[in-house]
Amino acid sequence: MKRYDCLKLLAPMVEEHMFAVTSLSTNAPFWFNVRPQGPNFFALNMGLCLPFALGLTAAFPQRKVISIDSDGSLMNDSSSLITVADVNPLNLVAFVFDNSSYAFMGSTFTARRTDLAKMAQGAGIPNSGTVRTLEEFSAAAKQAMASTGPHFIVAKVEPDAGRVAADRSRTSGRPMREWFMDAVRRHPDYQNRR
């Protein structure tokens, strides 16, 4: 199944006051295409997406926080799964789009022996599973959005067909942070801790 189709299905489930965090890779421009508004933190580098999202759950415990990660990124720091399990945030929904590729640079470990949902279960996240079709993805996402978490969903997707152009002023680095902080400061739950 295709990553973009999954994200297109997910976007309407994410309400305006929910948070989304993406890794580097097409997760960023694709997510921006389907959900440009609301508090989105785009394009975190390897290993940082899931722990950053976890931190957001501590700042906004009453809102769903959706992590949109990639297999290579998560595997760079798989210990973050242990931290997630232990913090046990009820509002975290963590997706990993597993295309078994490092961008266009060859296959990752999930093409061979590694099973990320199993690692998550070992870490101690009981609601962990793998989905392979759009129907399965849709059902799992709906269930995760409608129940307490944490949820960990590995979506097996095809490698992307080509590079995707993105508006770097919205999805990249320091400029992106400005848009994110703007949304955060206007968020009804925001408590400015001095």
Binding site: G47, M75, N76, S78, F104, M105, P175, M176
Partner: protein, 170 residues
């Protein structure tokens, strides 16, 4: 990195006896690591995290293998814990080739402020970790730098970093 630079590096690795090359793939050096993978002379190892990568290289190097680690500034940052141990504490002879991203003209998919950070942080980071490094940005001097870097690696018994930039990288 073009095939000319790739060839210089692979030929020099062979002359230096470096037959184990470890990496986590990254874009600017991908042509190199892919060529290593295709060449039966080399044992190519892919690691899940650069921290594992540096520790792995140290075990192999102290055990007597000639080893090179191919990464970028991001990988140096991730592996800085392992580098502090394997460099300053244990003096493992590891030759590290790292893409020196973030100079003007790097229009890659990494966010701009990350590129800026890579450029600003790379040299002070290596200085702080006491890892000797040189910036290599000319094809004319690439071979000599690899040879001298490899020699220094064994001579000092220490990791050595060659920061690849300019026409060597792009």
């Amino acid at each position: 990195m073009d095939q000319q630079s790739v060839k210089i590096i692979l030929d020099t690795f062979k002359e230096e006896g470096i037959d184990l090359v470890v990496t986590l793939p990254e874009e600017p050096t991908f042509a190199l690591t892919e060529a290593v993978r295709q060449d039966p002379f080399f044992t190519a190892v892919t690691v899940a995290g650069e921290g594992n990568g540096i520790a792995f290289c140290a075990g192999a190097a102290l055990g007597g293998r000639r080893v090179a680690f191919v990464t970028g500034v991001a990988g140096l940052l991730v592996s800085s814990w392992a580098l502090s141990q394997m460099g300053m504490v244990y003096g493992a002879p590891i030759l590290i080739l790292a893409s020196y991203r973030g100079d003007f003209g790097d229009h890659s998919g990494i966010p701009g402020s990350q590129l800026l950070m890579f450029k600003q942080v790379a040299e002070p980071l290596l200085g702080a970790l006491r890892v000797p490094y040189r910036v290599v940005n000319q094809k004319a001097t690439l071979k000599r730098m690899l040879q001298e870097g490899s020699f220094a690696c064994q001579d000092y018994s220490h990791p050595i970093v060659l920061l690849l930039s300019g026409e060597v990288l792009w």
